[in-house]
């Protein structure tokens, strides 16, 4: 049996080196060997090709998504007047109310106006300032909550606990990342908001704080895992140096480890920001979805209780309105432009984080 197998396998093993034939009847064997070899080579080539395709596909996807989103938004900048699918009447009324220049899509207005009336019959306005402010403010608040929490957890996991507790904690934190965002939104709606209203006597209704807490919880896992990685990458010799000089564990953390790992921790925070900026469902459900700049009151003064104001984010706007906007309409295209905006924001944040991480690895 064994010898049979060997003689069976031998030609194949020898195939790359035809110089040393195994059997005496070399001429009879040669074609068969060559055929099998060719097949094997072809198979290998195929597998290699498939693997390469898998690798490249990520790039293809990113570029085609960007291309598609941009293609849907682009006509805004080139089309003169009426968007093709808009009802005649509206277009005409437009022409009555405004000079032709105003009808044309204006990037400046898009970015700096807080008037978001995409379906107004008399006067459509596509200003996303309030939405940008909404996204940024809810993200910033989320980070104020998540950064101490996430980095604290990273420090704890990497420096203050060992063995079983560490493994358990890591698994549980990863589980946190596995909770679907609609479930988070649901929790925000039914559990968190009543608590916030009880605790702070906040005005009735959903608010920014609610969404920010959810976003914080959602971005903590990635902060912990990247943060822990970067603390783990700090050479042990730094810890020994600190300890041998008499530093306590806490002094070691904030005098040695945090400075040494600061780039990695920054990357961790940025990835958390990327996560929070891109999150949709939870914020749609939990932030109130009102176009509102939370920092100013109705009379134009600063609102110190802005965290209890409802806000609306860029992502939630797309999710909520894309279904209603008719394809090819100006509204539809503006929503895609918001997509481009978001894409660029998260791209920049992630790229920065990535470059920072890469910089660390190189050192």
């Amino acid at each position: 049996m064994a010898t049979e197998l060997q003689t069976e396998l031998a030609p194949e093993r020898a195939a790359p080196k035809p110089a040393q034939p195994e059997r005496g009847s070399a001429p009879a064997n040669k074609p068969a060997r060559a055929g099998r070899g060719a097949l094997a080579i072809a198979g290998e080539k195929l597998i290699e090709f498939v693997i390469r395709l898998c690798g490249i596909s990520a790039i293809i996807f990113v570029f085609s998504i960007f291309f598609f989103v941009f293609r849907e938004a682009a006509p805004l900048f080139f089309q003169k007047h009426e968007p093709p699918a808009q009802p005649e009447a509206v277009v005409e009324r437009h022409a009555d109310d405004h000079s032709p220049a105003a009808k044309k899509f204006a990037l400046k207005e898009f970015l700096f106006s807080k008037e978001w009336y995409p379906t107004s019959q008399s006067n459509v306005r596509f200003g996303v300032l309030a939405l940008i402010v909404g996204t940024l403010s809810v993200t910033a608040l989320a980070m104020i909550i998540a950064v101490p929490f996430g980095l604290g957890a990273a420090v704890f996991v990497s420096e203050f606990c060992g063995g079983k507790i560490k493994e358990t904690l890591k698994i549980v934190i990863e589980l946190l990342a596995a909770i679907p965002s609609v479930v988070w939104g649901f929790i925000g709606l039914t559990v968190m908001n009543p608590i916030i209203q009880d605790l702070f006597h906040a005005p009735i209704g959903l608010n920014m704080l609610n969404g920010a807490i959810l976003l914080a919880l959602m971005s903590v896992p990635i902060m912990v895992s990247i943060g822990e990685d970067s603390l783990k990458a700090v050479p042990d010799s730094f810890r020994e140096a600190g300890l041998a000089l008499g530093a306590t564990r806490w002094q070691l953390v904030y005098r040695v480890l945090l400075p040494a790992a600061k780039n990695g921790l920054l990357a961790a925070v940025l990835l958390g920001v990327g996560r929070a900026v891109g999150e949709t469902m939870a914020v749609l459900m939990a932030t109130g979805h009102a176009v509102n700049i939370p920092f100013v009151t109705a009379d134009g003064s600063f609102n110190p209780l802005f965290i209890f104001e409802p806000v609306r984010t860029l992502t939630a706007t797309i999710a909520a309105e894309l279904g209603e906007a008719s394809e090819g309409s100006q509204h539809y295209r503006v929503l895609f432009l918001i997509g481009v905006l978001l894409f660029s924001m998260t791209f920049i944040v992630n790229l920065t984080a990535d470059l920072i991480i890469r910089g660390i690895k190189k050192r």
């Binding site: 060992g162 063995g163 050479p235 010799s237 730094f238 810890r239 020994e240 140096a241 600190g242 300890l243 041998a244 000089l245 008499g246 530093a247 306590t248 002094q251 005098r255 040695v256 400075p259 040494a260």
Partner: protein, 258 residues
């Protein structure tokens, strides 16, 4: 100053286990104050382990168990009233690979002062002076006085190692423990560190682990030979090298193993 009878470090029946592996076996030793004592022995015999016992750095591994007694200047370092912070302040450590912290030269030198004066305010002038004194003592002041805010990890290795010695000095340690401090340095660097050791001798008790027997011979007053976790011989350096009492020591210094 260096009273020959005064003992800096004494151990009695010291045993140490890394989990199940016994790395130190019944080590009893008296290390005298104010001189340089070298620890030699083949790789893995427990030199580093013994040295790291003296300021209890070994304890950072949870799986280490120690039995026996270690006294620094007559005080048992395992007593309940001993503070680790104070212990480590009085027994400073220099590691095999220079390990300055990834902060500025200046901050490296004053690191010890800062962590031991937490909360209390340290006058800038006090710190400045400490830096100048410590760096002068290790011979770095002339080279580095204009580059104090340079990142310490960018210095040359020799300078890094000197800096690692310098940062112990502001804490006024009584004992300096060195674990193969020259193994990452070239000949010049080695000579510089040895000269520094001579300069520090007398005021400080120096215990140096070395792989290099020539170095032990040149640089130390007393020498301890270890083998497989046990202390084989401890005597004056010339005696140990010229008239070893134990045949194992003789074998080692003649290069029959190691």
């Amino acid at each position: 100053m260096s009273d020959p009878q005064k003992l800096a470090i004494t151990t009695r029946a010291l045993n140490l286990w890394y989990a199940k592996f016994q790395a130190l076996i019944d080590v009893t030793v008296d290390i005298k104050h104010g001189i340089i004592t070298s620890l030699i022995g083949p790789s893995g015999c427990g030199k580093t382990t013994l040295l790291r016992c003296f300021n209890r750095v070994n304890e950072r591994y949870g799986y280490v168990t120690t039995t026996g007694e270690i006294k620094l200047h007559g005080k048992n370092i395992y007593d309940d009233d001993v503070s680790l912070v104070e212990l480590r302040k009085s027994a400073g450590m220099v590691f095999q690979r220079p390990n300055p912290l990834p902060i500025s030269v200046y901050e490296n030198v004053v690191f010890g002062l800062r962590i031991h004066k937490e909360g209390g305010d340290l006058k800038r002038s006090v710190l400045d002076e400490a830096v100048e004194v410590a760096l002068t003592e290790v011979g770095l002041w002339q080279d580095l006085k204009d580059r104090l805010d340079m990142r310490a990890t960018n210095l040359q290795l020799e300078q890094q190692q000197k800096l690692c010695i310098a940062r112990l000095l502001p804490l006024k340690p009584e004992i300096i423990l060195m674990d193969e401090p020259c193994s990452a340095l070239d000949v010049e660097g080695t000579r510089a560190i040895e000269e520094l050791m001579f300069a520090l001798k007398g005021r400080y008790t120096i215990v140096i682990v070395t792989h290099n027997m020539a170095q032990a011979r040149r640089a130390s007053d007393e020498c301890i030979f270890m083998l497989l976790g046990e202390l084989i011989e401890h005597s004056r350096t010339e005696e140990l090298f010229l008239t070893p009492k134990n045949p194992k020591t003789a074998d080692y210094i003649e290069g029959r193993y190691g």
